[in-house]
């Protein structure tokens, strides 16, 4: 395992102590993510991660660590590769024709792209919630039971479903209509159902790809509260377009941008990775500062 402490991981270009102007966006930094004692270590990490789609280099040279039972936010403008990086963490990019990964992605020290690793097993341990709520056209119960059923954990299914729905703060709203179709739920409820579905397989890591971008502010707030609960049990990695959201919920933040390479192709690049408080109040890189203060992106 490399770089066991995130504080050591700094952008090489960091000028010391640049004063920041964050007055324009009233950020309640660390609102829901109070600084806690250092966690047990990294649940996942990437080393020299390069991702290609065919010949096109989408993301280059990403080194990140995702601390155990902490929330890590990936932020940056569109096309910066943050979702691509997220999809590498549970090998969802395997499903994209032509996608290729170089470098290492480790899960508790094991390279998930290494020989003998089954992507199905990877995804059972590293769950995912998508941008748009994507419940199956089945009943609420069957949606949550889907994961346990396909993984063969069919014992005590009712309990598993109830626990998952409680975990996703949805139980009280749906306990009387478990047999109804999931499409009868509101968008925010559907997204919490998708979270319940993801945690029903008892994963270790939860990846969230802009989970609130299709939701209204109230539903968004519920999901953010929920993330604060879930982080007791899960390591969470969230991609978000919403900087305030990153500031509110995450412990660490990675800022990506799209940098033109020598051929002029825009390649996703990790600019800066640090504690969220540091990124938002005292970013080391000018590009981070410009982005979070709204001058760019």
């Amino acid at each position: 395992m490399v770089n066991p402490g995130k504080d050591q991981h700094m952008s090489p270009t960091s000028p010391p102590g640049t004063a920041q102007d964050t007055a324009g966006i009233h950020l309640a930094v660390g609102d829901r993510a109070p600084e806690q004692p250092r966690s047990a270590g990294a649940a996942m990490a990437t080393e020299n991660l390069h991702v290609y789609y065919g010949d096109f280099l989408a993301v280059r040279d990403v080194d990140l660590q995702f601390d155990d039972r902490r929330i890590t936010a990936l932020i940056g403008p569109s096309g910066c590769g943050k979702s691509t990086v997220l999809r590498c963490l549970n090998r969802m990019n395997d499903l994209v024709p032509g996608a290729r990964v170089e470098g290492r992605v480790t899960y508790h020290g094991t390279d998930i792209y290494g020989p003998g690793v089954d992507e199905i097993e990877v995804r059972r341990r590293i769950g995912m919630v998508f941008q748009k709520p994507n419940p199956f056209p089945k009943s609420i119960y069957d949606n949550v039971a889907y994961g346990p059923r396909v993984t063969g954990a069919k014992d005590h299914l009712d309990d598993t479903v109830e626990q998952a729905l409680r975990g996703a703060a949805l139980w009280d709203e749906v306990k009387d209509k478990l047999k109804q179709n999931a499409y009868g739920l509101s968008g925010g409820q559907q997204q919490r159902l998708c979270i319940a579905r993801a945690i029903a397989t008892r994963p270790d890591v939860l990846l969230m790809d802009e989970p609130c971008s299709a939701l209204d502010p109230i539903a968004t707030s519920k999901i953010e509260d929920l993330m604060g609960e879930l982080v007791q049990d899960f390591t969470i990695v969230i991609v978000t377009h919403n900087m305030q959201q990153a500031a509110r919920v995450s412990h660490s933040t990675a800022f990506f941008t799209a940098q033109p390479d020598e051929h002029g192709d825009r390649v996703g690049t990790l600019v800066e990775f640090d504690r969220t408080l540091k990124i938002f109040e005292d970013p080391a890189d000018k590009r981070t500062e410009d982005y979070i203060s709204g001058k760019f992106g």
Partner: protein
């Protein structure tokens, strides 16, 4: 002012400047509209004409034969004996049962093969494989059914006859199997369309939960596409019920009630084809029986279609 008038030359040329009457009578528009309406009206007229032509002779037929005897009788001797005699057995069940038996055999072939092809093309095949298989499938759909019919008779029957102990070269089993292959393209192609239309997000959701491709296909994609798949099967079913040439050529012309698909038996369509191709003098009882069988076939296909509409609605998923 210069800006507002620049785009409206009529306001200066037309005098009042606020003239809202059409600049030309627009005759072309009216002609096209009436041509299109005539085309639509023609199809209604043809449908009504067919129904009237089918129903009117029924009165003569059912004046001699009781509808109960027709629908429940188990012997059909229309093509035997004196053509001008009404004194025959007019029980249509042998024809109906042969039709359903052949259709059942065809579906038993077409559903697994067709859905297998659809699942393979939609969920497993590479783009390159799909580019080869789809056109071949569509080629299969373009083969005239009479060709299927004599292939059944000359190629498949001689192979299967000793294996399955088929007594006669004319039999429902081989005709049904071949008819199944005839409707495979229909079932496969429409099912594949329905499965491909299932949003990628549902597949991603399934894979992200640790499901493999088989589980994703069977438990997410298939149920989500069920409405379209049912529509595909029912369309295949309708084609099988109405299919004539394969059965007339390979199924035989012996109207009899049998439970053994290896027997020769005449379907409704095969009977119509046999009699309509010259055996029945106009005005003879056999001639009128054609309309009775034709009308029954029409009612059966219509019922299948109505049931299918209900089924498709019942299983339609909004995602």
């Amino acid at each position: 002012m210069a800006v507002t008038t620049a785009g409206r030359p009529r306001s200066s040329a037309g005098g009042s400047g606020r003239d809202l009457t059409p600049r030309s009578p627009r005759v072309g528009e009216k002609i096209i509209e009436s041509l299109l309406a005539a085309a639509a009206g023609l199809s209604v007229l043809v449908t009504v004409g067919i129904i009237v032509a089918l129903v009117v002779p029924l009165f003569t037929f059912f004046a001699h034969v009781s509808p109960i005897e027709f629908l429940t009788g188990t012997t059909w001797t229309a093509s035997f004996g004196d053509k001008y005699s009404w004194d025959k057995d007019w029980g249509v069940l042998p024809l109906v049962s042969a039709t359903f038996m052949a259709t059942g055999i065809a579906l038993a072939v077409a559903i697994p093969v067709g859905l297998g092809i659809a699942m393979f093309l939609s969920e497993y095949a590479t783009t390159r494989a799909r580019k080869v298989i789809k056109p071949v499938l569509e080629l299969l759909a373009g083969i005239p059914t009479v060709v299927y019919g004599f292939l059944a008779l000359t190629a498949l029957t001689p192979i299967l006859q000793p294996l399955l102990g088929i007594p006669n070269i004319y039999n429902l089993l081989v005709a049904g199997i071949v008819m199944g292959f005839m409707i495979v393209p229909t079932v496969a192609s429409l099912s594949e369309d329905a499965m491909s239309a299932v949003p990628q997000a549902l597949r991603s959701g399934s894979y992200a939960l640790g499901a493999n491709r088989r589980m994703t296909t069977l438990q997410v994609v298939f149920p989500a596409a069920l409405s379209g798949i049912i529509a595909a099967i029912v369309l295949g079913l309708s084609r099988a019920v109405g299919e004539t040439m394969i059965l007339a050529v390979a199924g035989g012309n012996l109207a009899r009630l049998t439970a053994d698909p290896r027997d020769e038996a005449q379907t409704m369509t095969a009977f119509i084809a046999q009699i309509a191709s010259g055996d029945a003098p106009q005005g003879s009882p056999v001639y009128y029986s054609l309309f009775a069988v034709g009308a029954l076939l029409f009612v059966i296909t219509l019922t299948i279609n109505l049931i299918s509409i209900r089924l498709v609605r019942r299983f339609r998923q909004v995602y």
